[in-house]
């Protein structure tokens, strides 16, 4: 059964068509890779799903309910969470505080509440940053800042995560480690969409790849099929390699 259904998504900025009639689906427990050359509209698709951008046309459904016009916090509370490309922790709060913020209830009269110490520890442990809980975000190495973003996302108890270039700026050892952790999330029942502009980190991780080019659907298939797809190779020839 499809958890996420994007149907005929179109996003225009003035005269510029960033995403044009794009459709894809994600099944329960599946990891889908969404790739495309730089500027092909991958992040725009995420922004539309998360309610950061208004949608020009088309519809987005999550767990059967229409989320096309929902705002970001509504989408998050329905069980969809995004790990954005930019790391933007709140520098005046510790790692634990940053995670706690993501567990607070959306209620103006709730003075206490949110996750307990143990729960915050658990979220951090799931992505191996539990030993940094009392540190400040700007004291962490890059890879751990990226992991903090994932811990924050986990703290919203999502059914599905959208990961936007999770491997950016990481070395090969860190990429392998993170890919293993993401694989573990899948075993725990999480569905995921992973955006990347090349296939390096995705080959062994994803079940299926959807290719976006100039805002348009280009191809779909297993990682092996996509690696051999001539259209995809052509689209990437202009820019960097696959």
């Amino acid at each position: 059964m499809s958890v996420l259904e994007v149907d005929g998504l179109t996003k225009k900025f003035g005269g510029l068509v960033a995403v044009d009639d794009f459709s894809f689906e994600v099944d329960e427990g599946e990891i889908v890779g969404l790739i495309g050359p730089n500027g092909s509209g991958k992040s725009t698709v995420f922004n539309c799903i998360m309610g950061s951008y208004g949608v020009t046309d088309g519809s987005i459904r999550f767990n059967g309910s229409d989320i096309t016009d929902d705002s970001t916090h509504e989408v998050v509370n329905k069980g969809l969470s995004r790990v954005s490309q930019e790391s933007n922790p709140i520098d005046s709060m510790s790692v634990a505080g940053n995670i706690k913020l993501f567990t607070l209830p959306n209620s103006i009269v709730s003075l206490r509440g949110g996750a307990s110490e143990e729960e915050i520890y658990d979220y951090a442990a799931r992505i191996d940053i539990a030993e940094h809980l009392h540190e400040m975000p700007d004291e962490l190495p890059h890879a751990d800042v990226r992991r903090l973003e994932i811990a924050k996302s986990l703290a919203t108890e999502p059914e599905m995560m959208l990961l936007d270039e999770p491997f950016a700026g990481m070395n090969q050892a860190e990429i392998t480690e993170l890919a293993d952790q993401i694989e573990r999330f899948r075993e725990q029942g999480m569905s995921m969409v992973v955006v990347d502009h090349n296939m390096g980190g995705l080959m062994d991780l994803v079940d299926r790849i959807v290719v976006l080019n100039n805002g348009d659907f280009l191809a779909e298939g297993t990682p092996e099929e996509i690696a051999e797809n001539e259209q995809v190779q052509e689209a990437y020839l202009a820019g960097e390699g696959l």
Partner: protein
């Protein structure tokens, strides 16, 4: 010490770390004296930390001395202060309410309001107009709730359309709101009394300076306690997060707009109470003393001097500014006095941007012994 306290500190304790690094040799020398004092008082501070610390924030022995000392000094002022000081205290209590109210909205969310005097002015004018245009015999139990409600309505009228905007637009709208209010007073002078304002407001306990002091101080203390509880709760955490990174708040599944409007509600109600107190302090409401945009800027100055985003900092800032204005510099003529005051504010902005009371607080944190 329990791990719970550790996290509580580390969640909000960043600034103290930064202040700690400032310290230097002088502080190290001083701390040989202050550490034993802190250690001696620590058991009392810990009793407080265990019981009320979760609601108001934790502190060490030295910080407890500062707070309890200030509190006792304040509530006994009518018994040891001269009349000039006592009079200044009345005003300082009211401006303290304004500065704290401004802080829970602007200081915490970072959406800076340049127009908070429209809220206090609205409440004060409501009291005056009810007495002058409706019935001079209306009791305070009628006029006060209505006046506070009007402040809340004005607050929501500003907040609802403007808080969705970002950047300078919100600040500009608040600023323009004061200008409109101020300009409308004269054309509507039939009801507002124009430039000379409206009198006939009962000045409470005007013959009993002791009771009069408490009439202003008790509301101030209650508002301070209420705002502190909110500021140290999840709500304060979310408001600070809005200031630091609004998109992260949305990504956390929290409706940032709802919380921004809520901060305006939390601010408008005490602003209304302060406005009503100010009306009952002077007995006359005039545009110059109650609405003019300078008032809004003075609230900001007090909050910045004390340390915005801390509730107690702006309260201390209000007392400092009013005491300078009405006691220390009272010999100078008004223009000179205000030039000196604004120069002091400017110096604090340049050299102690985090605010004097925040610096003092973190200084005491450093001067005390290690918590563990």
């Amino acid at each position: 010490m329990s791990s719970e306290t550790d996290t509580g500190r580390s969640i909000s304790g960043r600034v103290s770390g930064a202040a700690g690094r400032f310290g230097g040799a002088a502080v190290d020398g001083l701390s040989t004296v202050t550490e034993p004092v802190d250690r001696a008082l620590r058991p009392i501070a810990n009793v407080y930390n265990r019981t009320l610390g979760g609601y108001f924030g934790e502190m060490n022995g030295l910080q407890l001395v500062l707070l309890v000392g200030s509190f006792l000094g304040l509530v006994t002022i009518p018994f040891w202060g001269n009349y000039t000081l006592v009079q200044a205290t009345w005003l300082a209590c009211i401006w303290g309410i304004f500065a704290m109210s401004w802080d829970i909205q602007s200081g915490y969310t970072g959406y800076i309001s340049f127009g908070h005097s429209v809220l206090s002015g609205g409440a004060a004018y409501t009291t005056a107009m009810l007495l002058n245009n409706v019935n001079a015999e209306l009791p305070m139990r009628i006029t006060i709730p209505i006046s506070v409600l009007v402040a809340l309505i004005i607050g929501l009228a500003i907040a609802l359309p403007s808080l969705r905007l970002s950047g300078p637009y919100f600040s500009l709208i608040t600023f323009v709101a004061v200008l409109i209010f101020y300009r409308l007073i004269r054309p509507l002078s039939e009801y507002t009394g124009g430039e000379t304002g409206l009198g006939g407001i009962e000045t409470v306990f005007s013959t009993d300076p002791v009771m009069r002091t408490y009439a202003f101080m008790i509301p101030m203390l209650l508002i301070a306690a209420a705002l502190l509880i909110v500021a140290r709760s999840n709500i304060g955490l979310i408001l600070v997060a809005i200031r630091e990174n609004e998109s992260a708040v949305e990504a956390a599944g929290i409706n940032a707009t709802k919380f921004k409007i809520w901060s305006f509600v939390l601010s408008s109600i005490p602003m209304g109470i302060g406005g009503v107190l100010l009306a009952h302090r002077f007995g006359t409401v005039t545009p110059g003393a109650f609405v003019v945009v300078d008032n809004s800027i003075e609230m900001i100055a007090m909050a910045v001097v004390g340390g915005m985003g801390s509730i107690l900092g702006p309260l201390g800032g209000a007392f400092l500014v009013i005491m300078l204005e009405d006691v220390v510099l009272s010999g100078f003529e008004s223009e000179i006095k205000w030039s000196i005051l604004w120069l002091i504010v400017l110096l604090i902005l340049v050299f102690a941007r985090d605010g004097l009371f925040r610096k003092l607080w973190h200084g005491l944190d450093r001067l005390g012994g290690d918590r563990r």
